[in-house]
Amino acid sequence: MKKRNIVIIVTSLLVPAILLTIGLISVKDENPVTLTLWHNYGGQLKEKMDVMIEEFNGTIGAKEGVIISVTSISGSATLHEKLTMAANQDPGAPTLPDITTAYPKTALILEEKELLVDLENLFTEKELSAYIPRFIEEGRLSKEKLCVFPTAKSTEVLFINQTIFDRLAEATGASLEDLQTFEGIMKTAALYYEWTDNQTPEIKNDGKTFFVSDSLFNYTLIGCRQLKSDFMKDDAFHFSDPIVRKVWESYFNPATKGQYAIFDGYSADLAKTGDIVCSTGSTAGVSFYSPTVTYSDNTTEPAEMTILPYPVFVDGDKVAVQRGAGMCIIKSDKKKEKLAGLFLKWFTSPEVNLRFVSSTGYLPVTEAAYGDIMQEEINHISDPNVKKLLEVSRVMQTEYDYYISPLFDGIDELMDSYNTHLKTLADASKKTYLSLLDTQEAELAFNIIIESKYDEFTSYFK
């Protein structure tokens, strides 16, 4: 047989075989990769997150063969507990997801067990340069490894129930401008207490609380930074610093007098029932504030909200805390990790990111998102509160320095301990103060109470 014939026969058989194989490969695998996602965007944020994920699944996800499946939505504290349980493989703990939102403190625990993907391997240097550097820096944990990717950050602002405040202003001449400083808030809180106390002359000392801070630790930490001092040194509280005492007293004193709320929960809860007028809290908390205030007889009234930049101590620098979880990718296989990276890229691309933050109160993570796109987005936002919030965040982005909470082993316990002890002591002081008021003048009663309280408080941590 001639060689030519052999070549013809073999080719004519090999070609269909190869074509078949190509056909086999080209038959699209209709079984896409499923990536599980845990996030802490609950409540109304959940709806927005659902819409975002559906959009991803229907567009990029469908094209690239990946489905994002949310398997847990919980508050950040629960998420932290759940991730820790899963990382430790505690009995009854769920399996770790492929992507999770996590605060650096949670990510640190996961990273200690080498469960996190180095996100720098999934992003090019050019891609990373589009993000706000301090957001990226916050996510760099051990050995310069980028473990937490900024997806939606937050800071703290001042939420004000304008409806109640207007009544106060009308009756007492209180000014909204006063709320720009913590000293002004203290002054207004005293005014509010007196005004509300006077509304029921038959009951003495039943004035209402005016202000609360969602995190007393952050309140002290940032207050000290504003006054150019450090609340924490060498992984411990720096109580001997007079600035620390000044900031501590700026909460403790009005709390003892019943002007600031002592509350073990989110300020939004108190705002819902009209038990406070203003509060400092995360921008992401905006959706937790109800548009109405419900009173104890179930009557409700609309509550207009005003948002101001984070207050500053007089003569202090404009400093606010940088908060917000990022997203981590849990180690699995290269394909899943790459697809998870694809989701993060999509989710943080300026337009998509701004769409998410514009209805949730989070802050976008790319420089580009703070530009013209943000103004465009602000013009189209229907929720007036989010609109106000974005405008404030834009001002803060240019005028404020953001401070990242220190991160070390045990910081969580220290923060909890600080918050709990401060509240417990303030609550006890308040009760003693109120009981002393029956027999003593207010100023004297207060001085009796306050004298040794700072030392008593700091002794917990010795």
């Binding site: 609950g42 109304q44 349980m85």
Partner: protein
């Protein structure tokens, strides 16, 4: 080329047929063998059902998933029904005692908001622990009263308590993430649990079947025990909330059959998803659903889903799926040719037979988009087809190589045979061919020898014929008559000579032709005749 080769070529050419080389013949034989074997494999695959194995395997996967899910759903919903009844009985007793102690009736509570708050606060612990104990995401109590009847919406506002577990899927959480979704804020604050982001003080009972239906049935069926009066709502989103939930509500009745309201448990869409998500690696778009079945239709909007795939996306713009059972294989779920799913369903008995809602049929179904199953089977069969084609190609290549290898010694043998000295040729190491070469070598020698002999005989006869030319005319005449076959006497008669004269001629002829006798002479004549030589 020798005479033999000529003869062989002559014979081959004489056949007149187009010649097919042995190599081609062998290749074709091997090809037939390969084709027979592949056909055999295909027959075996067909008979053993390998080509359709994907279908039955998929069917088996879905069936076992359904069996598992149905069991789990039955258990969860059955347990919750029982626990809701138990919860209602305990609440009824506690409410009755408290109200008696307060000397109030349920309808008088609205004018005593403090007492109402106290009444609800007292059952907080029971609600909390009932919720913690049950495999559910929330527990609620809705009382037939409101804190403020003067409000414009008081007709549709009901006091109560709704605790929601935000993380019902954590088994061993040290602190369950409870929130107050509905109820007095003081209850949450006293017990250090937060208000839900979508908190309201009271329930909005506009279009609240879970509130009205169980109470209506309790009034109509006074003889039925509580265990027959629980009611499962359709999946719904409560007013001013965002999550889809399914509620099991039971009327709260005192010992005199006075209705206080309803209570029960919630299964959120997230809890259902996390509890009943199919764990399957073959079909990642497999999902499980709990749906009411009415006239062979399952209503998407009244279903709970569990699956990693965003099922609501999958069923975009479709509100219900028609169920078309196939006795042999999958049941089809879809509308016309769009959004077709394959799978199975089984009935979930949510209610006992004597329940007022016993005629409702609920099913749990495990479905997979049809395309996924078809693709899966097509892929398997394409792999098989591809492998068979590759096997066939390999067979062809092997046939070519084998026929070449096999024919190589034969070709070499023929070359050797063609050569002049096959006897001295190297061995081919193929016994038969070497034997043939030996045989042909011997045959060739023999042939040569015979040719030599023939040559010699020819020379003697030629000399004999030449000598006849020196015969005298008389002797020639006698010789010619011998050639004609006459004997001596006949020749004497023909020539009118005496026999002695003939004998004399004979002697001279014998002498000249160098033969010894008349027999030898006749032999020569005959031999010359045989080779066609004319002697006349």
């Amino acid at each position: 080329m020798n005479k033999l080769q000529h003869m062989l070529l002559h014979r081959i050419n004489k056949s007149g047929m187009p010649s097919i080389s042995m190599r081609l013949r062998l290749f074709l034989f091997l090809l037939v063998l390969v084709l027979t074997m592949i056909s055999g494999i295909i027959v075996i695959l067909l008979v053993s059902g390998i080509f359709t194995a994907g279908l039955s395997e998929s069917s088996q996967i879905i069936k076992s998933e359904l069996e598992h899910s149905s069991q789990e759903i039955s258990n969860q919903f059955g347990q919750l029904s029982l626990q809701a009844v138990e919860f209602s009985e305990e609440l009824s007793k506690q409410f009755e005692d408290t109200l008696n102690h307060m000397n109030l009736t349920i309808d008088k509570l609205s004018t005593n908001p403090d007492k109402l708050e106290e009444l609800i606060s007292e059952v907080y612990d029971l609600t909390y622990y009932s919720l913690e104990k049950a495999d559910c995401s929330g527990a609620f109590i809705i009382l037939n009263t409101t804190v403020n009847p003067a409000l414009s919406n008081a007709e549709f506002s009901r006091a109560g308590l709704y605790l929601k577990n935000m993380e019902p899927n954590i088994i061993s959480s040290s602190a369950p993430n409870m929130t107050v979704l509905r109820g007095f804020p003081s209850i949450g604050r006293e017990n250090t649990i937060g208000l839900h982001a979508q908190w309201s003080m009271e329930f909005d009972i506009t279009e609240a079947d879970y509130y009205t239906i169980p109470q209506k049935e309790a009034l109509h069926n006074r003889r039925l025990s509580m265990s027959r009066l629980y009611y499962w709502s359709d999946p719904l989103i409560l007013p001013d909330t965002s999550e889809e939930v399914m509620l099991c509500s039971v009327p709260i009745l005192d010992s005199s059959h006075n209705l206080y309201g309803v209570c029960g448990f919630e299964v959120s869409a997230m809890l259902f998803k996390l509890s009943h998500m199919p764990y399957n690696h073959t079909f990642s778009r497999m999902f499980c659903m709990l749906s009411p079945l009415q006239e062979d239709m399952v209503d998407i909007n009244r279903s709970l889903f569990a699956g990693s795939y965003s099922v609501k996306d999958l069923v975009e713009e479709v509100t219900s799926l028609k169920v078309v059972p196939d006795g042999k294989s999958f049941t089809t779920y879809g509308i016309e040719n769009k959004n077709i799913y394959l799978g199975y369903h089984s009935t979930i008995q949510l209610y006992p037979n004597d329940s007022p809602y016993a005629d409702e049929t609920w099913v749990s179904a495990v479905l997979v988009p049809k395309d996924d199953i078809v693709n899966s089977i097509t892929r398997v069969n394409l792999i098989l087809a591809s492998l068979l084609t590759l096997l066939f190609t390999l067979g062809i290549i092997i046939s070519i190589v084998f026929s070449n290898k096999y024919l190589k010694p034969i070709s070499e043998g023929i070359e050797i045979i063609k050569s002049t000295a096959p006897g001295n040729a190297p061995k081919t190491n193929v016994q038969e061919i070497d034997d043939l070469i030996n045989f042909l070598s011997i045959y060739k020698n023999e042939l040569n020898r015979k040719v030599e002999e023939d040559k010699y005989q020819l020379t003697v006869l030629e000399q004999f014929a030449e000598k006849t030319k020196i015969l005298s005319p008389a002797e020639r005449s006698v010789f010619n008559l011998y050639v004609q076959g006459l004997n001596a006497k006949e020749i004497a008669d023909r020539m009118f000579l005496s026999i002695n004269t003939i004998k004399t001629h004979n002697k001279r002829i014998y002498s000249k032709l160098n033969v010894a006798s008349r027999e030898e002479l006749l032999l020569y004549i005959n031999m010359l005749k045989e080779i066609g030589r004319d002697l006349s």
